[in-house]
């Protein structure tokens, strides 16, 4: 029962076989969609598709699913959780009108919050396809999404960082050294989150214990996470481990999540398990999700849907579990999905916009691999653009180089650049802590202390003595 779409331009009539096809053809160029064979054949066809898409009534998205309701639990989640009352203010609009409205003065932060539950990922993906980068920035900037656990994430004028102290053998010393480095640069308020090289439960528990010790010892107003498979985290919780946040990579189709070995039920179980620990102090958002365009195609579970729409659908999954953090790992997989700096930048802005509009505390792993056609300058650009757009958090890694995951993301220094250039600050609780620990001499001017912060001096002195 899928409809087909026609568009008349001059004396030519263009056909699109389905809503999914129309959306795919309307998507700005990217390698993943070319790989999937769903991309527009020419720049002209792309614009025609955008014109046709702009004229699709938003209501259509409630009756025409890009992946059938019957066969996909994410479609079911999207449709079943849609709130007609929230949708009311825009229910008469087309996608094109919706763009106009989003950019209008009527769409202020309050109006945008009120709208969240009335939006489906597909509506949001559709409108993003006809928006320029500046539109994506301007609207995202108006969306304020706040979450909290041991500090408050996402307040306007703030930019948080995940401290990512990965080590190829999970050496506790190596990880601790990196955590130290990061803290000295004021990173780590979103989370101190380790990707374990060795992905098992005992390892997870060991790493969690170490993080807990550090956070307790220095009374850092932040949370920890070991980015292992959700089922491992559930086991760890059962074994009494100190779990702050539950991590999981998620995708936008049931099939993708199948290959990730997860589903809504498992996520629910994990969510409840973490909530039961009641470890949050200022809030109780306990989930940390990662997403990224290309996973559905990589898992061969995209059903003709373009990768950006699949990505937006992943946000429906995330939204279901009130996450503290959602992170689009935008250039992580490689050029197979986002070919170069230009495509990575566009995707980063799209993901951030879609996530924010759907009400998620959206961060971005601003990154690239060595097999992609991108470099540090592209990342500087995206970092600055996302900073302007009000991105919730970014990664912080020593010198941009993840020595375990083998890719480059933003460095501890990069985060300070963004704060300085854009006048942004870390989470308020963390900000106070940085001042109190004498890591910064002036948080507003982003000036670090020339001296080694006193409370930490001891550890280093101790070490040098050995």
């Amino acid at each position: 029962m899928t409809a087909s779409y026609r568009w008349q331009q001059g004396d030519k009539v263009y056909h699109f076989g389905s809503l999914a096809e129309l959306m795919a053809k309307a998507t700005p160029e990217r390698s993943g969609d070319a790989l999937a064979g769903v991309i527009a054949e020419s720049a002209e066809q792309r614009v025609i598709a955008q014109m046709a898409l702009a004229d699709v009534p938003l209501k259509t998205f409630l009756t025409e699913a890009v992946i059938p309701y019957e066969s996909d639990e994410i479609t079911r989640l999207i449709i079943d959780s849609h709130q007609l009352a929230a949708f009311a203010p825009i229910s008469h609009m087309t996608v094109g009108d919706f763009r106009n409205w989003l950019l209008s003065d009527a769409a202020d932060s309050q109006a945008l919050s009120a709208l969240r539950d009335g939006l489906t990922p597909e509506m949001v993906a559709a409108v993003s396809k006809i928006m320029r980068n500046q539109d994506l920035i301007l609207v995202a900037k108006k969306c304020h999404v706040v979450s909290a656990f041991r500090n408050t994430i996402g307040l306007p004028g703030r930019l948080s960082t995940r401290l990512q102290p990965n080590h190829p053998t999970d050496s506790l010393d190596g990880i601790a050294a990196t955590i130290f480095d990061g803290l000295m640069y004021g990173n780590g308020d979103a989370v101190i989150g380790i990707n374990p090289a060795t992905d098992n439960v005992p390892q997870t528990i060991k790493l969690l214990a170490m993080l807990e010790e550090v956070i307790q010892h220095y009374q850092i107003p932040t949370q920890s996470c070991v980015l292992t498979h959700v089922t491992n985290t559930i086991e760890a919780i059962e074994q009494g481990a100190a779990v702050d946040l539950v991590f999981q990579s998620i995708g936008g189709t049931q099939g993708t999540n199948d290959t990730f070995g997860v589903n809504l039920a498992v996520l629910k179980e994990a969510h409840e398990a973490a909530l039961s620990l009641k470890r949050g102090t200022v809030g109780n958002n306990v989930m940390y999700f990662e997403t990224g365009q290309g996973t559905a195609l990589s898992a061969d579970a995209y059903f003709g849907v373009d990768q950006q729409t699949c990505e937006a659908r992943a946000y429906a999954v995330a939204r279901q579990f009130d996450p503290l953090l959602v992170n689009t790992v935008v250039g992580f997989i490689g050029p197979e999905y986002l070919f170069d700096g230009k495509q990575i930048i566009r995707a980063g802005l799209e993901d951030h916009f879609c996530g924010k509009l759907l009400g998620l505390p959206m961060g971005c792993d601003i990154c690239y691999t060595n097999h992609a056609y991108a470099d540090q300058n592209d990342m500087d650009n995206l970092l600055t653009l996302l900073g302007v757009a009000g991105c919730t958090f970014i990664m912080g890694i020593p010198g941009s180089d993840d020595i375990m995951l083998n890719y480059q993301t933003t460095s501890f220094h990069d985060a300070l650049y963004a704060r300085k250039a854009l006048g942004l600050k870390p989470a308020p609780e963390f900000e106070s802590w940085l001042a109190q620990m004498e890591i910064f001499s002036d948080v507003d001017k982003v000036r670090l202390n020339q001296q080694l912060a006193k409370p930490f001096g001891a550890s280093i002195a101790l070490l040098s003595d050995k």
């Binding site: 053998t169 290959t259 060595n370 020595i403 220094h413 550890s459 040098s464």
Partner: protein, 303 residues
């Protein structure tokens, strides 16, 4: 007039990190120092050089001839796997195609698929004769394990680490008391992705595929190798049905450790008749055991 340019004169504006001593614990780019809050020139340029070189690593071709020769010549292998390696290619014709078409890197070329099936039939035939000779008979002729070696995104990783890890693993398998492992000939795949091991396993009719593959090169680790295990390999298998051992290289997971883990996972897989989510790695690593004891040092951070 030619001058050898000398080291910077004035570094007074650079604030050195006082925690240089921590560098002993990790190869991560910590304690870089700063100027204002930015990365100092020297460190920035070092990074750029590494990046330029990592890009090269992606494009370097696997020297199949040398690897093949080494495998054939390996003393510890030759008395366990008697058949020489099989050399095949994926459907990705060259590196640019490989990068842009992962789907092609996941499948054997038609010709190579045929080549492997033929090889399998040939061995089958030989074995049957041997078995008849010995008076044995099995209905479904299967290998327990097909070891596959693929360039992946870093041929350097494979060139350096595949042989030593295979040697150690095969040694463990042949000394295994719990199970007598029947091993297919080793297959070397160029322009291969992880899933190409499924094609190989299916053709060779193996219970498990173990593929060693070059992980994408990092700045600091252009030569990291990964191992992926798949029970009942078949074209189209899902990643959730695999297990992974990653970061194999001397500065990451050492050879012995990798072989230890692989052996553990293979044995468990044989027991449970699966790989993937259902098979959790509960092995306690050799190094990890050591580390658990040295936990004191690890917490230098907390005094």
């Amino acid at each position: 007039m030619s001058k050898l340019v000398s080291k910077p004169q004035d570094e007074s504006v650079v604030t050195e990190s006082r925690w240089q001593s921590l560098k002993q614990f990790t190869s991560a780019r910590i304690a870089l120092g700063r100027t204002g809050t930015s990365i100092p020139t020297g460190e920035l340029l070092d990074f750029q050089l590494d990046h330029a070189r990592a890009i090269d690593a992606v494009h370097r071709a696997l020297d199949v001839a040398t690897l093949n020769q080494q495998l054939v010549a390996s003393h510890s292998l030759s008395h366990v796997i008697t058949t020489p390696p099989l050399l095949v290619q994926s459907k990705a014709s060259d590196r640019m195609v490989y990068l842009q078409r992962p789907d092609l890197g996941r499948q054997l070329s038609e010709a190579c698929w045929q080549q492997l099936c033929d090889a399998r039939a040939e061995y089958h035939h030989q074995e049957q004769r041997q078995e008849q000779h010995k008076g044995q008979h099995q209905g479904q002729q299967e290998y327990d394990l097909a070891i596959v070696v693929a360039d992946g995104l870093s041929s350097t990783a494979i060139q350096k680490h595949a042989l030593p890890v295979i040697e150690r693993l095969v040694e463990k398998l042949s000394g295994d008391d719990a199970h007598t492992w029947s091993l297919a000939p080793i297959t070397i795949v160029t322009q291969g992705r992880v899933a190409v091991g499924d094609d190989v396993g299916e053709c060779l009719n193996a219970k498990i595929t173990l593929i060693m593959i070059g992980e994408r090169p990092g700045l600091t680790s252009p030569d990291s190798m990964g191992i992926y295990l798949t029970w009942a390999p078949k074209r189209g298998a899902k990643d959730s049905s695999r297990n992974c051992i990653s970061n194999i290289r001397p500065e990451g997971l050492p050879y012995e450790e990798a072989a230890h883990k692989a052996h553990y996972l293979l044995s468990e897989s044989m027991k449970l008749q699966l790989t993937g989510i259902g098979l959790k790695d509960r092995s306690v690593g050799l190094e990890e055991e050591a580390q658990l004891e040295s936990d004191a040092t690890s917490s230098f951070l907390i005094g």
